[in-house]
């Protein structure tokens, strides 16, 4: 929670008498010393061994039961867990803030792998809506198709779907990379703020609608551009990065990236420097 303090230095709005307080949030504080990165662990995380492997059949488990059991196995040092019979259940594998090699032998429902930070995940099936929402770091690979809101609001990591995805892929994303081997639906990259989306196939209408920042690369046809989404020049460094990324993602390694389209924000919707309506009144 940010602290509210009164300070001497006044902003433009304060100098007009609109308010007197200033927010000094956590983003302005120094929390960590980068030199001590190896000591950064979430509370309750485990030291696991990738060579220690086990299977977990979740056929007759609810999602909370399955997720608790994954946590229990990690606490025993298992670094590779194979989930059997996920059966399209919702909310499997959520909230894993640990290094872990996780394999699903089947499909997931909604919100699979949501709010994770660190695991390497392979899903040998399909995923429903909002897969890997809020992913912070790690890698999630889906071997088949994905539903809508794929990678919503991710902040980091690599999210890869070898098939096609639904609408609003990468909505509100704030970092990381999303790679789609097939086609993507409408409103891909809607309100994205940072990060990159790569689509090797076609994409639907309103691509990059109201995007603040970030980059979208498209290999196929574009249904239509969204508001303030514009073409940009595909540079040689872009192409190098695309080749590397597709190779690491085990997807489209031979794809001719030189013909891809690059879409960025026109930044004509940016209003950060404008005054609020009430402030405008005060300025008149």
């Amino acid at each position: 929670m940010a602290n509210i303090k009164t300070i001497e230095k006044k902003s433009k709005a304060q100098s007009m008498g609109m308010h007197t307080e200033v927010l000094t949030g956590r983003t302005q504080q120094k929390f960590f010393n980068p030199d001590e990165a190896e000591n950064f662990y979430y509370f309750g995380t485990y030291d696991v061994d990738f060579n220690k492997r086990t299977d977990l059949d979740v056929m007759n488990m609810s999602a909370p039961e399955a997720n608790k059991e994954i946590d229990n196995l990690m606490s025993q040092g298992y670094g590779t867990i194979v989930i059997k019979n996920p059966q399209g259940k919702h909310s499997l594998g959520v909230g894993i803030l640990n290094k872990l090699n996780l394999i699903f032998e089947g499909s997931l429902g909604y919100f699979g792998m949501g709010s994770c930070d660190g695991p390497i995940v392979r899903i040998n099936g399909r995923v429903g809506w909002s897969c890997a929402e809020n992913l912070m770091a790690g890698k999630v690979v889906i071997e088949k198709n994905a539903g809508s809101c794929f990678g919503a609001a991710i902040r980091g990591g690599d999210l890869i779907c070898k098939g096609s995805v639904g609408a609003r892929t990468g909505i509100d994303m704030k970092g990381g990379t999303i790679i789609i081997g097939g086609d993507a639906g409408a409103f891909t990259g809607f309100m994205m703020q940072r990060g990159r989306i790569i689509i090797l196939g076609d994409v639907g209408i309103n691509l990059g609608d109201s995007m603040y920042d970030g980059t979208i690369f498209v290999g196929g046809e574009i249904g239509s551009y969204g508001s303030d989404a514009v073409d940009a020049e595909l540079t040689s460094s872009d192409q190098d990065w695309l080749r590397r990324k597709l190779k690491v993602a085990e997807i489209g390694e031979d794809f001719d990236v030189s013909k891809m389209k690059k879409i960025v924000a026109g930044k004509k919707l940016w209003n950060y420097d404008n005054l609020e309506p009430t402030e405008k009144k005060g300025a008149i």
């Binding site: 399209g88 919702h90 429902g109 399909r126 539903g147 809508s148 639904g166 639906g185 409408a186």
Partner: protein, 314 residues
């Protein structure tokens, strides 16, 4: 939030009543105010099957007004008399519940508009479905409760669509429950997940063209809209494609006829749908767990894209 599910067997019949019950029960967390089935059973095709109600379920959670059961008997008598006056002969009669009836009717005339208008002019009476194969069964409660109440698990047929409803924009009652019959077309039914924002504009236009609305549920508009397009000569698929621009809002809906099943998704793709398609079976639902109830093994499914319309034949 509501859940919809549907399946069509191609080239064979199956126990669609039980299969749809499993699919809808898997979606009960999306709403269990009411559940409805549109089942296309194996029949000899000679007589019409008329499912109708002479009152509402006034059980717990219902928004309907309590009526004396004797009123239902009076209404039934008037229905019987009206059928007789129209030259329709009741071949078989089942009264599953005091307010819910199933008639097999020998009726030669193909135009069901006049037929339906006369039956529904009886206060408190609504035809839930009319067709040679279609039977719409809907009531309050989740899929299993409705299935058990009406003994639907033994019904054998080729295809079916259904709906698990969370009431948001109209009452908790049978008249607002899905599926909706595509009045006045024989064997046409619709289920919908979403909200329509130009309901009243479209309703006024369609009422002026002689179509009827039995509820204030926005989803009913889809059934009437498609039926009107078909009245004007459009095919089912043409009518559905036209609805993508004619209907405003967010929607995924299914339409079924005697020998086909179709789906349409709005241009914003705001409502979910997962689809499984093979040579002998198409199954679809708001969530994959619905499909898993009939196909527990590993399968390939996908989400149809925005503005997509698909129709399958039996």
């Amino acid at each position: 939030m509501c859940g919809i599910a549907g399946l069509i067997h191609r080239g064979k019949s199956s126990n669609v009543g039980s299969e749809l019950q499993g699919m809808l029960q898997a979606l009960k967390h999306r709403g269990e105010d009411s559940t409805g089935y549109a089942l296309y059973g194996d029949t000899d095709g000679k007589n019409f099957i008329m499912r109708f109600k002479v009152g509402e379920n006034v059980g717990e959670g219902s928004s309907s007004v309590m009526e004396d059961v004797s009123v239902y008997d009076e209404r039934k008598k008037i229905v019987d008399q009206t059928l007789s006056e129209m030259g329709a002969k009741i071949i078989k009669e089942e009264r599953t519940l005091p307010y819910s009836l199933r008639y097999e009717v020998d009726y030669e005339t193909k135009d069901l508009l006049d037929f339906s208008q006369r039956i529904e002019s009886i206060p408190g009476v609504e035809i839930l479905s009319m067709g040679k194969s279609l039977e719409v069964i809907k009531d309050l409660g989740n899929a299993k409760m409705v299935c058990d109440r009406y003994s639907l698990d033994k019904l054998v047929g080729t295809h079916a669509i259904g709906h698990a409803r969370m009431a948001t924009e109209s009452g908790v009652d049978i008249k607002s429950a899905h599926p909706f019959w595509g009045y006045p077309f024989s064997d046409v039914s619709v289920v919908h997940n979403g909200q329509l924002t130009n309901y009243w504009n479209n309703r006024r236009v369609l009422e002026n063209k002689g179509m009827r609305f039995m509820s204030e549920c926005d989803s009913e508009l889809i059934a009437v809209y498609i039926a009107q397009k078909m009245r004007e000569g459009a095919s089912l698929e043409e009518g559905m494609k036209d609805s993508l621009t004619g209907l405003d809002g967010v929607f995924t809906y299914f339409v079924a006829t005697k020998d086909s099943l179709g789906m349409a998704k709005d241009t914003m793709a705001a409502k979910p749908l997962v689809l499984y398609e093979s040579d002998d079976l198409v199954a679809m639902g708001s969530e994959e767990i619905a499909i898993r109830s009939v196909l527990p093994h590993e399968i390939d499914t996908y989400d149809p894209f925005d503005g997509e319309v698909k129709v399958w034949q039996i």
